[in-house]
């Protein structure tokens, strides 16, 4: 039984992995991720890759919405900016992916800052509305700037290649994308041990107090917006290299709502939140497909309802979790661990 979480040294207090279950849990997760492509079929590997991409995007949203308290309705569109920037830069310059990805990330951060800038000095609601406007304007530009983005017909790009090998099969893409995603999540976890991350949390909890204790609000909100957008750009880049073909309609408001749903369900302001959330929102369509497949013999037309059913599921998840478990799955996870730790004296 673990009674308390006593730290004897400063090093222990500052550690990235704060206790042995976290450390070994992380090691086990990495081992699982390494072994997955050898054990699972290519569809599961494909889903895992998608979870990784979503995790990166939602981690960005977590920095912005979960830790800094600025709700963004334009995150899906920013992922679109990252994906399109990747495709366009790769097609124009013909440079390898490890040059394209940082460039796309920079472009997305710039676009994100451009839309965040007007609203950063005003609180809450206005930022949400500005990002909503950004979402529509970005998708509109992608659809209508035909000479660059190829408009409604979408854009394709060459697969990423490492040492002359094109990454086209699912396990190959998995090997590229998942390590980047793990690093991105670790970076975010580490961020909230630093001055910057603490400043974000202070702003979320009370911006007046944060200002008074010397947190430069405009600067840090801008930083949060830039970082969140950069994560969206990274996710977009990985998205582009995973699917190799993009359509503007993929990045409409619906995607932003899915990200928000994932954040709420997973648990905002937690490192594990985006991971749980991503798994959840990727699995929902698959589960619904399975359920509908089961029902099809009884009612052949039911397949038509798959897409709306997905939409309803995402919305319901937001509402139900917001009402009953606003801290999300990550909180339930913590509660389970606490129960195990305190056993046999669990409440």
């Amino acid at each position: 039984m673990l009674i308390g979480d006593y730290k004897a040294t400063y090093a222990a207090d500052e550690a990235i992995f704060r206790s042995w279950p976290v450390r070994y849990g992380f090691a086990a997760m990495v081992a699982g991720l390494v072994l997955l492509p050898f054990a699972a079929n290519s569809f599961i590997v494909f889903l895992a890759t998608q979870v990784a991409i979503y995790t990166v995007a939602i981690t960005g949203l977590n920095i912005l919405t979960g830790y800094t308290g600025l709700i963004s309705l334009g995150h899906g569109a920013l992922v679109g900016v990252g994906a399109y920037a990747t495709a366009i830069l790769a097609n124009w310059l013909g440079v390898p992916f490890w040059v394209v990805i940082p460039m796309a990330v920079a472009v997305t951060a710039g676009v994100g800052l451009m839309f965040g800038l007007p609203s950063l000095r005003i609180r809450g609601l206005y930022l949400t509305i500005a990002t909503l406007a950004a979402s529509f304007i970005i998708v509109f530009v992608i659809e209508h700037w035909g000479s660059v983005t190829n408009g409604d017909s979408g854009i394709t790009l060459a697969p990423a290649s490492v040492f002359g090998i094109d990454l086209v099969s699912d396990p190959q893409k998995y090997a590229l994308i998942v390590p980047i995603a793990v690093l991105a999540v670790l970076f975010a976890q580490n961020l909230f041990r630093t001055r910057i991350g603490r400043a974000f949390i202070a702003i979320r909890d009370s911006d007046y107090s944060a200002e008074i204790i010397g947190v430069g609000l405009t600067r840090y909100k801008l930083l949060a917006f830039g970082l969140g957008s950069a994560y969206a750009g990274l996710a977009g880049s990985l998205w582009a290299y995973n699917f190799l073909a993009l359509l503007p309609t993929q990045f409409e408001l619906q995607l932003s709502i899915i990200f928000l749903a994932a954040l709420v369900v997973g648990g905002s302001a937690r490192t594990l939140g985006p991971v749980f959330g991503a798994v959840f929102v990727i699995l929902i369509p698959e589960m619904l497909k399975w359920v509908f497949g089961f029902l099809t013999p009884f009612n052949p037309t039911i397949v038509e309802y798959t897409a709306p059913a997905n939409t309803i599921a995402y919305g319901l998840l937001i509402i139900v979790f917001m009402i009953f478990e606003p801290m999300g799955l990550a909180a339930i996870w913590t509660r389970i661990w606490r129960y195990i730790n305190l056993w046999p004296f669990s409440p």
């Binding site: 709700i71 005003i122 304007i137 509109f140 408001l253 928000l260 995402y314 919305g315 917001m322």
Partner: protein, 299 residues
């Protein structure tokens, strides 16, 4: 370029503005009373339009004439929509009472998805064509084509808007709403039934929204995507100033006119982004809108 066409399009824009005002007043009402910015208002309006469609189909099946649409159809639609608004408030928003605005906003965003998906499941995504209240005829006045349904929409929207504003300013319920808006706990202490005020504002918002839906849907067609109009009406609300009813009316005309002009000079696609460009501009230079109170919190 013919100046007559510009004037014609301007009139069309102003008439659309009337309907926008009717939609926007629902958002403003709910925001003033409950401090919740309802992102789902457009989808509530869309559901109202589907109620209207269903009721007219049922009335048609019963073999009643067109008169039934006016006598039964529209009032029933408004009633059902108001009850629907009350149900949303009771089931979804009431448990969130007293939570921070973040949670409230998230819930209304979730509502967008739930309502849009439900409409697609119940009524399918195929376009529906509910009957127009006035024929879709076009009259020519001084060489300009005026769409009759649009003109009628404008007039109806104007009358309802005026009625709502007067109620808001003069009636007992309106006073209760304004009292709740300015200070919830004091309103409670003075014997105002605050949860009922919330209920009433949601009913009014859903009712006016449904009326806007009834007016808008026949003009093009009714699909679950109609709710998107509600998102562009956010531009109207922000431009008018979040809490000013008169500001919203002005802003609705401005946005409607700007949309029509974008449509005229740049092409139909550009019409869609005008409201969002307006929003960004307003937030940049005048975040409290044209006539809103100046207490925008700057930090």
């Amino acid at each position: 370029m013919n100046i007559v066409y510009v004037i014609e399009d301007s009139l069309t824009g102003l008439m659309t503005g009337g309907v926008y005002a009717l939609i926007a007043v629902g958002i403003v009402f709910v925001f003033r009373a409950t401090k919740v910015f309802n992102f789902a208002h457009g989808t509530v309006m869309m559901i109202g339009a589907y109620f209207y469609y269903t009721i007219t189909v049922v009335l048609g099946d019963l073999g009643l004439g067109t008169w039934a649409i006016y006598v039964l159809g529209v009032p029933l639609t408004l009633l059902v929509s108001a009850l629907f608004g009350a149900a949303i408030e009771r089931i979804v928003m009431r448990p969130m009472l007293g939570q921070n605005p973040f949670a409230m906003i998230m819930v209304t965003i979730g509502l967008i998805s739930v309502l849009e998906g439900s409409a697609a499941v119940i009524w399918s995504t195929n376009a529906k064509f509910p009957p127009a209240l006035v024929g879709l005829n076009i009259d020519f006045v001084a060489g300009m084509a005026i769409n009759r349904q649009m003109l009628a929409s404008f007039l109806i929207a104007g009358i309802v808007f005026a009625a709502i504003t007067v109620l808001f300013l003069k009636s007992k319920a309106g006073v209760a709403i304004r009292a709740t808006a300015s200070d919830q706990s004091t309103a409670y202490a003075m014997g105002i039934n605050v949860p009922r005020v919330f209920s009433v504002t949601w009913m009014v918002a859903a009712g006016t929204g449904a009326l806007a839906g009834v007016l808008l849907a026949p003009l093009n067609s009714l699909t679950p995507g109609l709710g998107q109009v509600g998102l562009s009406v956010i531009a109207v609300v922000i431009l008018g100033g979040l809490d000013s009813v008169i500001g919203v009316l002005l802003a609705a005309f401005i946005v409607g006119w700007l949309e029509a002009m974008a449509n005229h000079f740049l092409g139909g696609d550009f019409k869609e982004v005008v409201p969002y460009a307006v929003v960004l501009l307003i937030i940049l230079i005048r975040p409290y809108g044209l006539l809103g109170t100046r207490d925008v919190e700057r930090v």
